[in-house]
């Protein structure tokens, strides 16, 4: 089952670059957007990551950090990230393959890839919003912004 609003977001530790591991708990106190996607280099995933790359300052306004996650390896992520000039981490759910995707209930066993799924996790580490997109559709960012807005206290 895909994790839903109100569920505790399981912690994880994955490679973000060839020599650095990244854990969710490091981001405690910040809102976190997890963008699971099927594969580096595929057309829809590329468009989706390129879009989020343009959105970083909007996410920042809501004290939010975005992390991309797929089953590609750290070296593949590095090449993809360089080629698209991405300024946010791509995490490698590579060994054991798809372990974190499974924890979040968004692993496609048949394809051996993550589903295209979004989670917004609040500062306390609970899922505030989740969304499963069709694999062929780039879900954009409006749902993420609405979710961030809903968990941000109004001044």
């Amino acid at each position: 089952m895909m994790l839903q609003k109100g569920d505790k977001a399981p912690d994880f530790k994955l490679f973000a670059t060839p020599d650095r591991q990244f854990s969710l708990s490091e981001l405690k106190g910040k809102n976190v957007i997890l963008a699971f996607y099927p594969a580096d280099w595929s057309p829809v995933c590329s468009d989706q990551m390129v879009l989020y790359n343009e959105m970083l300052k909007y996410f920042d306004k809501y004290n939010a950090t975005i992390l991309g996650i797929s089953v590609d390896s750290k070296w593949c992520h590095l090449a993809f990230s360089d080629s698209r000039k991405l300024h946010f981490p791509l995490l490698a759910d590579f060994e054991p393959k798809g372990e974190v995707s499974k924890l979040y209930g968004v692993y496609d066993e048949q394809q051996g890839e993550s589903n295209r799924a979004l989670f917004v996790i609040d500062k306390e580490g609970y899922v505030a919003w989740s969304y499963l997109s069709q694999v062929s559709v780039n879900p954009g960012a409006d749902g993420i912004l609405d979710a961030l807005e809903s968990i941000t206290p109004k001044n």
Partner: protein
């Protein structure tokens, strides 16, 4: 995800065609995006073919991290708008997309007869970049997920410019 245009077309937008037109097409585009370059002549064809029935609106959606001249080009078009030449600038940029550079934009600005001193001053006005960014944000809120994205009468159209042409052609033959 959202598929409704937010906010609606207003006096802040760059509009071609009559407010009474029955079909309102809004494009979210990036001047350096190759697919937007491909869409440009097709949109012209749509406007020609359907004439008075079409109202066309362009909103900026520059993917600045991927396209270094997307934002400068968008700002240049807004500066041209201050001299009532938005569409001339919009067109000349898409017609010469392969020549996009800072120098190229100045050449295009002279090409359409802008007052260059004024243009130079205006492109440094931070309000123009803010206008472009507010277009971008409206796109995000409307569910734009890449460029070009089209909205027809306020609803996101799932397809490219040629699909749009085909859809309009098909609908007009039914009537």
């Amino acid at each position: 995800m959202s598929n409704h245009l937010k906010p609606e077309v207003s006096s802040h937008d760059h509009v071609q065609g009559s407010a009474k037109a029955s079909i309102e097409i809004v494009e979210y585009g990036d001047y350096q995006c190759p697919s937007c370059g491909v869409a440009f002549p097709v949109l012209k064809e749509i406007q020609e073919k359907f004439g008075q029935q079409i109202r066309f609106v362009f909103r900026n959606f520059p993917l600045s991290e991927s396209h270094e001249f997307a934002m400068p080009a968008a700002v240049a078009s807004e500066a041209a708008a201050l001299q009532d030449k938005f569409w001339e600038m919009h067109d000349i940029i898409f017609e010469n997309q392969n020549l996009l550079s800072n120098e190229g934009l100045f050449k295009m600005a002279s090409g359409i007869g802008l007052d260059i001193e004024q243009f130079k001053e205006d492109i440094q006005n931070p309000q123009l970049e803010q206008k472009v960014e507010s277009d971008f944000e409206s796109g995000i809120r409307s569910g734009v997920n890449g460029t070009p994205s089209f909205f027809v009468n306020g609803t996101k159209f799932d397809g490219d410019a040629q699909d749009l042409m085909d859809m309009l052609t098909e609908n007009s033959s039914i009537e």
